[in-house]
């Protein structure tokens, strides 16, 4: 595959060319597709193997590593679902509650802050804006111990509150920035017209900005979902009772009891925990890629 890293053809609109050149181009293009297809397979293969293995009888998983097999069973899913202290459905429900709470929090708080930063003129704006941008880059370790202490003193350990409440206070600055970028792209004449018609800031926010920034809200919701669903560190320190575990932490249980070497169950529940991410990827791909692109350039 490494032979495929040759420079891409950067030429502008291809002019009609004499035959031999065109044939050479066709060959280059074929080679390129062959290389990319091979790389795609290599990238995806571990995931496909995970899915196929989760349907194999336990003793077959490592004996036969291929993904072509007819010996399939759903036994792993039945066993895995009930393998831990609680049915896996409970962990999925916990993950869902935390994710939905985080999404609502981020949508509300980040859009409010973004409106102020993008549309309003006020004293202290440059400093606050700079602080907001810098918090995107702040390593979480540096606030970890005091945050933990706060939640412990509040008696919030083993509840979902430490994972949800901060989102209602716009602590995910990345999304504030994403929304600021988006609101700036809305033609300002729209806001001017609303102002002349007598709309105050609240109305301008609720009735004009929010409907127009639905793509940015969608991107925020999708990213929040993916990051919260996969989050491991937060639940690991705040949730110690199995009943409160989200799927990510519950999966760890399979590593601890691996003396039984029940790989089938572990694979099956891994697949189950990845399915929501995969669905969101399929549905929200457009927003994901756009969201990344708009905040990532220059």
């Amino acid at each position: 595959m490494t032979t495929e890293t040759a420079l891409p053809p950067l030429a502008a609109k291809p002019q009609p060319r004499p035959r031999p050149v065109r044939r050479r181009r066709l060959l280059t293009s074929l080679g390129k597709h062959a290389g990319l297809t091979a790389l795609s397979l290599l990238m995806i293969y571990p995931l496909v193997w995970l899915v196929v293995s989760s349907f194999k009888p336990n003793d077959q998983i490592f004996r036969d590593l291929s993904i072509f097999t007819t010996d399939l069973t759903i036994e792993n899913y039945i066993n895995g679902w009930n393998d831990l202290q609680h049915p896996f459905g409970l962990f999925l429900a916990n993950s869902t509650i935390i994710s939905v709470g985080a999404i609502i929090g981020n949508l509300l708080s980040c859009s409010l802050a973004a409106y102020a930063f993008a549309r309003l003129k006020f004293t202290g704006r440059p400093i606050l804006f700079a602080i907001m941008l810098m918090t995107i880059m702040l390593p979480f370790q540096v606030v970890l111990v005091p945050q933990f202490t706060i939640f412990k003193e509040l008696g919030w350990l083993n509840t979902f509150l430490p994972l949800i409440v901060p989102k209602f206070l716009a602590t995910d600055a990345f999304f504030v920035f994403l929304m600021v970028q988006f609101i700036r792209g809305i033609p300002k004449e729209i806001f001017e017209a609303a102002r002349i018609d007598g709309a105050g800031h609240l109305r301008s926010f609720v009735q004009i900005t929010l409907p127009l920034m639905i793509p940015a809200l969608a991107t925020t919701a999708i990213f929040t979902f993916i990051w919260t669903w996969s989050d491991f560190f937060g639940p690991l320190i705040y949730l110690r009772i199995p009943e409160t575990f989200p799927a990510a932490v519950a999966l760890k249980g399979f590593l601890d009891v691996q003396s039984s070497s029940d790989f089938g169950s572990m694979f099956a529940m891994s697949v189950v925990s990845l399915v929501p991410l995969f669905i969101v990827f399929l549905v929200g791909q457009r927003y994901l890629i756009k969201g990344f692109a708009t905040t990532g350039i220059k």
Partner: protein, 318 residues
């Protein structure tokens, strides 16, 4: 404009794409109402805790004690002295720096290479882009880290493949020389998100630059070196800075791949994993706070170095 670009223009004092609100009376009162949740959040969950952890790093704060009823004793620089004399600390630092310095450039190089390959109206672009992007969405999950343990295990997928060629390889996860590399490969596997950013950046380069260059007789290599690469440098820089910052904080993959131990032989004892074990398993929160502040300083130094170096290779057209 990226967050870094914004910061830069704030620092340079130049407004680019800022709010285009002129000659209107300030909306300070409304603005602070809109900002209220954010200000409350930044005060209670960011700035307050930052200062608190700085203070706690000079104390003998133990997790089992309530800091309000029973204030931890002030011990000066003792945590920092202990830390700098602790071989385990330096090991975790070395492991993490090694990971950052290898995995970040490697991942960005792969991302850039593929973005260039996929650029310019290639057929099937969106298909390849989706396939390459998918791992970067799943890569942070525990499930994928669990999968990685099996892929690189003694009986795993990789060794099964090598077995076809008669190679009898060790269990990569269980070998102190290779375990870190499996996590590096996991990071490289998630090259899709920087690739998407590069692709978007490539699309912003005006076609007429290439047309003009072609008229002037510039060849393919020349156009790449003189147009594509310089115009991409701000995006490469942005990715480099942020990826380094995030890579320093890697936790989940190291935790799961090593089963929470940082093993074998501490070869995957990442900085954050060591910090977690010190603070939350040994309850030594003062030490953990000192580690956190040291990490902040290291990350700030890396970022400052990056900004300084950017003068020599990043091209800004303003």
């Amino acid at each position: 404009m990226s967050s870094l670009g914004e910061l830069r223009s704030l620092a340079v004092g130049r407004r680019r794409g800022g709010p285009r609100i002129q000659e209107r009376k300030p909306d300070t009162k409304a603005a602070y109402l809109f900002l209220a949740p954010w200000i409350l959040g930044i005060a209670t969950f960011t700035i307050g805790p930052m200062l608190a952890s700085l203070y706690l790093s000079f104390t003998d704060y133990n997790l089992l004690r309530s800091p309000l009823k029973d204030p931890p004793p002030f011990i000066g620089f003792q945590n920092y002295i202990d830390m700098f004399n602790d071989p385990s600390f330096w090991n975790s630092f070395r492991v993490t720096v090694q990971y950052v310095l290898v995995s970040v450039p490697l991942q960005l190089a792969v991302a850039l290479g593929l973005a260039l390959l996929l650029d310019r109206g290639m057929r099937g672009l969106s298909f390849y882009r989706s396939i390459f992007y998918l791992p970067s969405l799943l890569g942070g999950s525990v499930a994928v880290a669990i999968l990685w343990r099996q892929v690189f295990g003694k009986e795993g997928l990789v060794n099964g493949f090598l077995g076809w060629f008669g190679i009898d390889a060790p269990g990569w996860i269980g070998h102190p020389d290779y375990a870190l590399w499996t996590i590096i490969i996991l990071h490289v596997w998630t090259f899709g998100s920087p690739m998407v950013i590069f692709l978007a950046g490539l699309r912003q380069i005006p076609e007429m630059f290439y047309e003009a260059a072609a008229v002037d007789g510039a060849g393919r290599v020349r156009r790449f070196v003189s147009i594509t690469l310089p115009l991409l440098t701000p995006i490469i820089f942005f990715n480099l800075v942020l990826q380094i910052i995030f890579a320093f904080q890697t936790f989940t993959q190291a935790y799961v791949v090593s089963g929470g131990t940082g093993g074998p032989a501490d070869s995957t004892m990442f900085y954050t994993l060591f910090l977690y074990r010190t603070g939350f398993l040994q309850y030594d929160m003062g030490y953990a706070s000192a580690m956190a502040w040291f990490l902040l300083i290291v990350i700030a130094a890396f970022t400052a170095l990056n900004f300084w170096l950017s003068k020599f290779w990043v091209f800004y057209d303003d």
